[in-house]
Amino acid sequence: MSLIDLANPTRFLALATRVLPWLAAATAILLAVGLYLSALAPDDYQQGATVKIMFIHVPNAWLSMFVWGVMSIAALGTLVWRHPLADVAAKAAAPIGAAFTFLALVTGSLWGRPMWGTYWEWDARLTSVLILFLMYLGLMALWRAVDDPSRAARAAAVLTLVGAINIPIIKFSVEWWNTLHQGASVIRAGGPTMDRAFLIPLLVMAIAFSLLFVTLHLAAMRNEILRRRIRTLQMMQASRQGV
């Protein structure tokens, strides 16, 4: 099955239905392994056991930006290539991205209180991630506000591409401004600075959460395709009743 074939929603539905149980099983196994490794990880010499919050905070923070990246590619697919599944992918990703961003904010806050002495600080990293969360909510509201999915898709695609400016701002905020938040310690020039005892559980959890996103996204896309199919049928029904 080629990529062109997947542009056909019926073929996509068949593929998603076949792949989803395997993806869900792989996600569950990796999450279990990640949680086990996280539980076994030693305490940090400065942070003590609160370092365990990192194993859930960082994957959620990474995914909050990654999902917007996926939505930005989908937005290009809507505006440039007019791919039939592009806006389905974008719409389905938004609530999942919002959930990951919410979790990144709250777990960061719960990690910040014992380590920084405060739940919240209006610094560049925290504020830019809060803006990302609000943009997710704005996009979801836009999708709900416009009845016609193709009109909503174009407006949402433009908003998504404009909002993509925030992603490098989030990433480099810790270098461009003085913030309470620490600098990059995994994805950086020169390689990770983190000890393997923390790095391995973190990477396993990051892969597990990424798989979780793929699984949920495919399932949410399947729902969205069905929703559009129902909308078409209801319009057919209404036009028949009107004749």
Binding site: A39, I53, L103, T107, A220, L233
Partner: protein, 59 residues
């Protein structure tokens, strides 16, 4: 496994992530069931897509 003086922060973080992920899974699963049910009802009332009429597929 002792989590030291900040146990409540750690446990709350993990519990919150578990709750939100579970809520996402349940929401998507229930939405799927609802959409399938509406589609079945529509098709049972004789409203089908043209492609379904020609191929006999109901997906």
């Amino acid at each position: 496994m002792s989590l030291g003086p900040y146990t409540s922060f750690i446990v709350t973080s993990y519990a919150l992530v578990a709750a939100v992920v579970a809520a996402l899974i349940v929401w998507i699963a229930l939405d799927y069931r609802r959409q399938k049910q509406i589609l079945r009802d529509l098709e049972a009332s004789g409203i089908t897509r043209r492609s379904a009429q020609t191929s006999g597929s109901s997906s």
